[in-house]
C-alpha cells in the first residue's frame, strides 16, 4: 500500500445491507441480494473493492436477517482483499440510522471518520476524494450527491457553492435543485451522538439537524449513479456500468465476432456460431449461448443456457435457467434460479419464481408463481 493511503489511517465502513431485497425478487429468493452478481461480480463486492481501494480495512455489514451462507461466502471473498468483515445483526429493522448506533462500539473505537453506504448503489465510487474533501472542510459529515433529471421524484439537497448543505426538501413541486442524496457518506464518530438505538432514518432524523448546525457538506459525484435494487434499474445500471468500462478503456469488455457494443463475457462461457450479443449484455461463468441466439440489454447469470435462435432483450436470466429454442423474452423479464422456458415460448415482462417450467407463453407482464 502506498504512503499517501496510509495517511488516511485505519478506515472503517458500514454498509446498510438491510432486509431480504424483496424488490429484486425473484433473484433474491435464491441468493441474498449482496451476492447477486452485477456485471459478473456480487453487488457488494463492487462496493467493498472500491472501499479497499480507498484504504478501508474494516467493513461492517448491517443486516436484518441471518444468512450463514452469505456470511461464509462473503468472508472468504473479502479476506482475499485483505479487509476484515464484521456482521452487525439487527433484531428488528433499524432503518438507515439505527444500524450506526448498533455498531457504535466499532465505529467509535478510533477518532477517524468512517464511510456509510446504501448497499444497492452502483457508480464510480469516489471514496478517496470523499475522504479528502471531508478532511478539508473539517465538519462532522459529508454526503455524496448526484444529479438527476427528474428531481421531483426524490428528496433534493440544497447547498452553498462551498458545499455546505442548507436544507433537504422532499419531492419538490417547483425546481429547487437537481442534486439528490446518492446514499454514500463519510461521518465523524461524533455523529453517533446524534443517533439513538431505535428504528430511525438518517435522511430524515439525522442529516437535517446536522445541516441546521452547519456540520454537513455535499460532494457532487462525477459520472453515472444507479440504485440497482430492482430489475429495471439493475439493467439500466448495467448499461451505465458497461459504458463507464468502455470510457475507461477497460480490457474487461469482450471483443469478437457477433458482439455488438459493450459486452462482458466470462471466459468460461461458451458462445455459439451466428449469435448476435449486445449491446449491453453481461454473460456469467459457465453460461452456454447456443448457435443463432440474439441477446441485447440483458444479464445471463452463472450456469444458464440460452438455446438456439432465442431472442432476448431487457432480461435477467437466473442461475442455471434454460431458455428454449426460438423463445422470445423481453420487457424486463426476470427468470429466477433454475427456470426452464420451453421452446418457442414468448415471455413479455414475466417475473418467474425459481424452479418453474414455463410451457405457455406469457403475453402480458405478470408474476409466475
Amino acid at each position: 500500500m502506498c504512503g499517501s493511503d496510509k495517511k488516511l489511517g485505519d478506515i472503517r465502513a458500514l454498509i446498510l445491507v438491510g432486509g431480504y431485497g424483496t424488490r429484486l425478487r425473484p433473484l433474491t429468493l435464491s441468493r441474498p441480494k449482496p451476492l447477486v452478481e452485477f456485471a459478473n461480480k456480487p453487488i457488494l463486492l463492487h462496493q467493498i473493492e472500491a472501499l479497499v481501494d480507498a484504504g478501508v480495512t474494516q467493513v461492517i455489514l448491517a443486516v436484518s436477517y441471518r444468512a450463514e451462507d452469505m456470511e461464509k461466502e462473503l468472508t472468504e471473498e473479502v479476506s482475499k482483499l485483505g479487509v476484515s468483515l464484521t456482521f452487525s445483526h439487527e433484531t428488528e429493522p433499524l432503518g438507515t440510522a439505527g444500524p450506526l448506533a448498533l455498531a457504535r462500539e466499532i465505529l467509535s473505537a478510533s477518532p477517524e471518520p468512517f464511510f456509510v453506504l446504501n448497499s444497492d448503489v452502483i457508480c464510480e465510487f469516489p471514496f478517496k476524494e470523499l475522504a479528502k474533501y471531508h478532511r478539508s472542510h473539517g465538519k462532522e459529515g459529508t454526503i455524496v450527491v448526484t444529479k438527476v433529471e427528474e428531481p421531483s421524484k426524490y428528496g433534493v439537497v440544497v447547498y452553498k457553492e462551498d458545499g455546505q448543505i442548507e436544507s433537504f426538501i422532499e419531492k419538490p413541486q417547483e425546481f429547487i435543485s437537481n442534486k439528490i442524496n446518492a446514499g454514500m457518506y463519510i461521518l465523524n464518530p461524533s455523529v453517533l451522538n446524534r443517533i439513538e438505538l431505535r428504528p430511525t432514518s438518517i435522511e430524515k432524523e439525522v442529516f437535517p439537524f446536522m445541516a441546521r448546525d452547519g456540520q454537513l457538506h455535499a460532494l457532487e459525484l462525477q459520472g453515472f449513479w444507479m440504485d440497482v435494487g430492482q430489475p429495471k434499474d439493475f439493467l439500466t445500471g448495467m448499461c451505465l456500468y458497461l459504458t463507464s468500462l468502455r470510457q475507461k478503456n477497460s480490457n474487461k469488455l469482450y471483443e469478437g465476432p457477433g458482439v455488438v457494443g459493450n459486452v462482458l463475457i466470462d471466459p468460461t462461457a461458451t458462445i455459439g456460431k451466428g449469435c448476435r450479443i449486445g449491446p449491453n449484455v453481461t454473460i456469467g461463468p459457465d453460461v452456454v449461448i447456443e448457435d443463432g441466439a440474439c441477446i441485447k440489454r440483458s444479464t445471463i447469470l452463472r450456469g444458464a443456457c440460452v438455446r438456439q435462435h432465442a431472442w432476448l432483450d431487457g432480461c435477467i436470466v437466473g442461475w442455471r435457467s434454460v431458455v428454449g429454442r426460438w423463445v422470445r423474452m423481453e420487457n424486463c423479464t426476470v427468470l429466477g434460479e433454475d427456470v426452464i422456458v420451453k421452446d418457442e415460448i414468448y415471455v413479455n415482462g414475466g417475473q418467474v419464481l425459481p424452479h418453474k417450467s414455463i410451457q405457455l407463453s406469457v403475453p402480458e407482464p405478470q408474476i409466475i408463481m
Binding site: R276, C294, H309, W311, W326, R328, E330, E344
Partner: protein, 415 residues
C-alpha cells in the same frame, strides 16, 4: 355418366376471408399446397363415372381461366367455368346453367359448395342415393354440437329410411344436431322442383310480395327455396358421415383445413426432406429451404418461397415467393405472397381450432371483434408484399397488403 357442379360464389362473398381474399379469390386460396377447390376437383376426378365438372360463380372469367386451364392439364376430366352475369344465389346459378348440366343426360350430378373442405365420400354418397329410387337430392350430413348446429342447415331424418322430414337453414333455436355439409348428389328431375321454386320467386318478385328482398328475379337460395320445401316429401335424403368436414369461412379456418388436407394427401409431401420436418408438411418443389430450418407440423410452403437458416415454422401457410429470414419464428399464421419476415422476428397467431374436448365440435367462425369492440385473438395474417422488420413481434394481428411495418404490433389490424 355423372357430372359435378362446384358453387364458388363471387368477389362479393367470402369477405370474412379478408385480407387473404384481397389478393386471390377465396376458392383459389392454397390449402395444403393446392387451391381450395382443387380438393373438390380431385374428389370428383377420382370417380370414373364423373365426366365433367362445372364451376359456377360470379368471378370474372379472367380470374378463373388460368386455374381452369391448369386443372384441365392435371385431371383427365372436362372442367369448365360458368360465370353468372350477376350473383344469383346458391340456387339461381345452378338453375341458370341447367341446360349445361343436363347436356349429355347424366344420371345425376354432384353439387359441392366451394367453401367447405372434407374427405368427400362421393362414391358412398352416390351409392346411397342410387339405392333410393325416389330420391331427388341426397345431402351429406354430419353431427354438430347442439350449440353450434344453429349456424348450419339443420335436418331431422327418419331413423330407418333416412328421408329428411324437416329442414331449416340456420334456425334461431335448436332443431337437430344433424347438419348439412353442403355436399349433395342430385337427380336431374330436381330441375322440375327448381322450376316450380323459380316460378314462385318470379311471381313474388314481380308482385312485390317478397318485399323486394331479392336483388334479381333470378335469385334463388338452394337451401331455402329448394331443400326446405322438399323436406317431408320423401324425395330428400341425408347420408350421415363421420369423416372430417369443415367450412372455410374465416381466415383462421384455413390453418385448420390445411392440417386435415395435409393428412389426407401425404403423398404430396416432399421426399427427401430438405431440412428437419415434423409431419405433415407440404413444401413446393421450387421453395429454397435452408437445412437448419425446422418446419412442421401443419405447414404449407408455396412456390419460390425462401426459408433461411435457423427458421422455425409451424401451423402456418406461407404463400408464393415469400421470404422468412434467419432465426425467425412463424406460428399459427398466414404469410402472404412476396411478404418477408425479418431475422429473429416472431409472427404468431392464436389457433381457432374446434374444441378438441367436445365431440363433433366445428370451427367457431367467431367475428373479427368481440362485444367490447376488441379484436378477437385469431391467426396472424400478413397480406401480400408485407414487410416485417427484424427482431419484432407480430401477435394476433392482421396486416393488409403492401404495408412495411417499422415496429412490433399486438392485437391490431394494420391498414
Amino acid at each position: 355418366m355423372l357430372k359435378a357442379v362446384i358453387l364458388i360464389g363471387g368477389p362479393q362473398k367470402g369477405t370474412r376471408f379478408r385480407p387473404l381474399s384481397l389478393d386471390t379469390p377465396k376458392p383459389l386460396f392454397p390449402i395444403a399446397g393446392v387451391p381450395l377447390i382443387q380438393h373438390h376437383i380431385e374428389a370428383c376426378a377420382k370417380l370414373e363415372e364423373c365426366k365433367e365438372i362445372l364451376i359456377i360463380g360470379s368471378y370474372t372469367t379472367a380470374h378463373m381461366a388460368q386455374f381452369v386451364s391448369d386443372m384441365q392439364k392435371e385431371y383427365p376430366i372436362i372442367i369448365r367455368y360458368l360465370q353468372e352475369f350477376t350473383p344469383l344465389g346458391t340456387g339461381g346459378g345452378l338453375y341458370l346453367f341447367r341446360d349445361q348440366i343436363r347436356a349429355g343426360n347424366p344420371s345425376a350430378f354432384f353439387l359441392l359448395n366451394g367453401d367447405v373442405c372434407a374427405d368427400f365420400g362421393l362414391k358412398e354418397l352416390w351409392t346411397f342415393h342410387n339405392e333410393r329410387s325416389d330420391a331427388l337430392v341426397t345431402i351429406m350430413g354430419t353431427e354438430a354440437t347442439r350449440q353450434q348446429s344453429v349456424h348450419y342447415g339443420c335436418m331431422v331424418c327418419d331413423t330407418v329410411t333416412k328421408a329428411v322430414n324437416h329442414y331449416v337453414e340456420k334456425p334461431n333455436s335448436y332443431v337437430s344436431t344433424l347438419i348439412n355439409c353442403g355436399v349433395y348428389v342430385c337427380s336431374l328431375q330436381v330441375f322440375h322442383t327448381m322450376a316450380d321454386a323459380f316460378q314462385r320467386k318470379q311471381d313474388g318478385f314481380y308482385s312485390g310480395t317478397n318485399g323486394n328482398s331479392s336483388p334479381h328475379p333470378g335469385y334463388m337460395s338452394w337451401e331455402q327455396d329448394v331443400l326446405a320445401p322438399l323436406a317431408g316429401t320423401k324425395k330428400l335424403y341425408a347420408m350421415q358421415v363421420t369423416s372430417w368436414w369443415s367450412q372455410v369461412k374465416t381466415a383462421g379456418s384455413a390453418i385448420y383445413a390445411n392440417r386435415h388436407y395435409l393428412e389426407l394427401h401425404r403423398e404430396r409431401q416432399a421426399v427427401p426432406a430438405p431440412c428437419h420436418i415434423l409431419p405433415d408438411v407440404f413444401l413446393h418443389p421450387t421453395a429454397i429451404v435452408d437445412s437448419t430450418a425446422v418446419i412442421g407440423p401443419n405447414v404449407s410452403i408455396g412456390a419460390g418461397v425462401t426459408i433461411k437458416a435457423g427458421v422455425r415454422i409451424k401451423e402456418s401457410i406461407v404463400l408464393n415467393h415469400a421470404t422468412i429470414n434467419e432465426h425467425a419464428l412463424v406460428m399459427y399464421s398466414v404469410v402472404g405472397q412476396d411478404a418477408s419476415v425479418g431475422e429473429w422476428s416472431r409472427v404468431e397467431g392464436t389457433p381457432s381450432d374446434p374444441d378438441p374436448n367436445k365431440p363433433f365440435a366445428k370451427m367457431d367462425n367467431t367475428p373479427l371483434f368481440n362485444s367490447d369492440g376488441r379484436l378477437n385473438p385469431s391467426i396472424t395474417i400478413l397480406g401480400a408484399s408485407v414487410v416485417v422488420p427484424a427482431e419484432t413481434i407480430l401477435l394476433n394481428s392482421i396486416v393488409l397488403p403492401h404495408k412495411h411495418l417499422t415496429r412490433s404490433f399486438k392485437h391490431e389490424i394494420i391498414l
